[in-house]
């Protein structure tokens, strides 16, 4: 018994040490200077001679994941430069971008000249970028999960922008000595929080003004739309569908949940905790949301979704009220620019949703992403 107590005590101490070893929250000085309002995992502080950008670990929000120190290329290095930051001279000149979303952002900021490499061009929808790739001005560096590091070095790139995943590194790219910017914007839960990251990218590409203008425009439009839909009666909504043995239901505080709530809908699962999706059984979703007035889902297929196909996939779908009354709307992520647009323009998606939920509020709106499902 004595031994057991000793072991338990040791274990307890170990756990304490583990907890105590991490820095708690951001540096209070920087937190005060954080100029961002919506992005929770990003903080930008404008200091004398440099800009301090901190990225919080989205999977362990007590931890800081990265600290970048941006110094103007033409300016001298300030004496009081923080030692724990990764130095990046801006504007960057030869960037490699792994994700098509951020390539689209670079294009929006007019910074494509500063981009020399991308991954997986088959997922890029922008013709401008594709033309540049064809002309050799932008190089394909391979898969985002396993890029061709030799080519990256060969291009003389001095920055990599990549999306981080929990517990995964960047493979051999980490050994290249090239600063890797972890673009964790997709982990933001608020639509505008994701957009606000464009300020960071603007700083990187030397397009601060364009970025601030783009963000301000999006923000203002978003709020205006939200206000428009705020007082309208809220229809009930169910999202996505069953895959495998479960239905991945987005949480109430997730990005999607927030978007639909702002669009003036009553998202039936907004009480599901967490900011990700929870796996629920079909019967639970059906029981709570079978009578939902609207059903919105996303799919990625070359052939358009039809009611028949949906019922063919799983017969009991046809018992949903939205199926019976033909009020299902689907977004084909393969053919639409949904994923490209949503980071910089959540207001466009919001517009689409409001037009579905409250057609009278936006007469004349042409659907961009969500379309009625065919027979």
């Amino acid at each position: 018994m004595g031994r057991l107590k000793t072991y338990l005590l040791l274990l307890f101490l170990l756990v304490l040490c583990g907890c105590g070893g991490r820095p708690h929250g951001a540096d209070p000085a920087v937190a005060a200077a954080d100029s961002l309002h919506f992005a929770r995992n990003l903080s930008i502080a404008y200091c004398d001679g440099y800009t301090s950008v901190r990225i919080r670990d989205p999977w362990d929000t007590l931890r800081q994941r990265q600290h970048y120190v941006l110094v103007d290329r033409d300016a001298p290095l300030p004496a009081d430069l923080p030692a724990d930051g990764l130095l990046i001279r801006t504007p960057v000149e030869r960037a490699v971008i792994y994700t098509s979303v951020h390539t689209a952002i670079a294009e929006q900021l007019g910074a494509l000249d500063r981009v020399v490499g991308v991954c997986e061009p088959e997922y890029i929808t922008s013709q401008v970028v594709l033309d540049r790739i064809a002309a050799g001005r932008i190089t394909d560096v391979g898969l985002s999960t396993a890029p061709n590091t030799e080519r990256i070095v060969d291009l003389g790139s001095n920055l990599i922008i990549a999306s981080p995943f929990e517990n995964s590194g960047y493979g051999s790219a980490e050994k290249l000595g090239i600063p890797i910017v972890e673009a964790a914007d997709y982990m933001e839960n608020h639509p505008l929080g994701r957009t606000e990251w464009v300020l960071f990218y603007g700083l990187l590409f030397g397009a601060r003004d364009e970025a601030e203008a783009a963000f301000a425009q999006t923000r203002d439009r978003y709020f205006a739309l939200r206000a428009l839909a705020a007082d309208a009666p809220r229809p009930t909504v169910v999202l996505e569908r069953k895959y495998g043995n479960s239905w991945a239901v987005p949480g109430g505080k997730s990005y999607i949940g927030t978007l639909h709530a702002d669009a003036g809908a009553d998202y039936l699962f907004r009480d599901v905790p967490g900011t990700n999706s929870t796996h629920l059984s079909f019967e639970e979703v059906y029981d709570r949301a079978g009578e939902a007035e609207f059903w919105l889902l996303k799919y990625g297929d070359r052939t358009p979704m039809t009611y028949a196909r949906l019922a063919g996939e799983y017969d009991p779908y046809s018992h949903f009220r939205a199926w019976r009354e033909r009020r299902i709307f689907a977004c084909n992520t393969l053919t639409s620019t949904y994923y490209d647009d949503i980071t910089l323009h959540p207001d466009w998606v919001l517009e689409d949703l409001i037009a579905l939920y409250h057609p009278d509020l936006l007469p004349g709106h042409v659907q961009r992403y969500y379309f009625p499902v065919d027979e």
Binding site: E120, Y123, L143, T145, A146, K242, Y243, G244, N245, S246, T278, H279, L280, S281, F282, E283, E284, Y286, D287, G290, E291, G300, D301, R302, R309, G312, E313, Y314, D315, P316, H319, L334
Partner: protein, 335 residues
Amino acid sequence: MNKVRFFWLYAALAAALLSLCCIGLMRGSVQIPLRDVARILTGSFDGREAWRHIVLESRLPQTLTALLAGAALAVSGLMLQTLFKNPLAGPSILGISDGANLGVAVAMIWLGAASYLSTILAALIGAGVVLLLILWFSRRVRGSVMLLIIGLMLGYLASSVISILNYHASADKVHQYVMWGMGDFSGVSIAKLPWLAGFVLAGLGASLLMVKPLNALLLGDAYAANLGVNVRRTRFLVLACTGVLTAVVTAFCGPISFIGLVVPHIARMLTGTDNHRHLLPVTLLSGACIATLCSILTVWPGSNSLLPLSAITPIIGAPVIIYVIVNRRNFHYFQ
């Protein structure tokens, strides 16, 4: 074991199966009172339509699918263990389920087709190709051990192609494939169930007809031939039967591990014999029970979130296998 004890064993298994089916109908993420479930089943329910649909179109087909799949996989495992005289043989050993996996990987990742029908077709085609290869080899290879090795190698080949496909695929396609690979009894709706049931019942019926040659095979190929069994043809029929059963179950439910390997051992422990006359039906019933239990446990008691099937079958299967291996000396069929 004499006739009386076998009677009680069958009665117990039937009762267990019936109880598990009832639990499967009565229990789920949504709390439906027992009385209402009974009324729904007898057709005298006039409450929420949603509940009627849940019981009849979600829980009922899921329970029946589990029942059929469990029986099919367990019997396949038994026949393969006898044919190859290997207690660790199972339906996945010949690479047929790997072939189905490959078919689905090709369809989902390469061709980008992920609809319900295309997944089933792809799995059937993949499994069918491997099955035909195995059957072709079975006519050319004399020893069963050689055939087993060929089957294993085909499985590895399929897995390596799947790795290549996954390596070059985008994250959501990989995710889709991984979800399929977790196994699922809930994907077969009432409308599609007759297809699964038809093939499985046909396969199970064929297996029951093979009790006599399977028993002869217990003695080995030479003795079986001397007893008048056409060993080549029997081998062909066993492979075809198990191949079809495995292919159909994998196509409708995704790859399901452990049941085919473990249930024959459970059945041997229950019957205490290698004689297929009772071993095969007991395996059939036990497989149905175990699979139905796994299906119920996907909604783990106490929580409402779902567990994937591929996580639950090892929880039941691994302890049984370890127990059997550790107690080898007490189990006569291990000599």
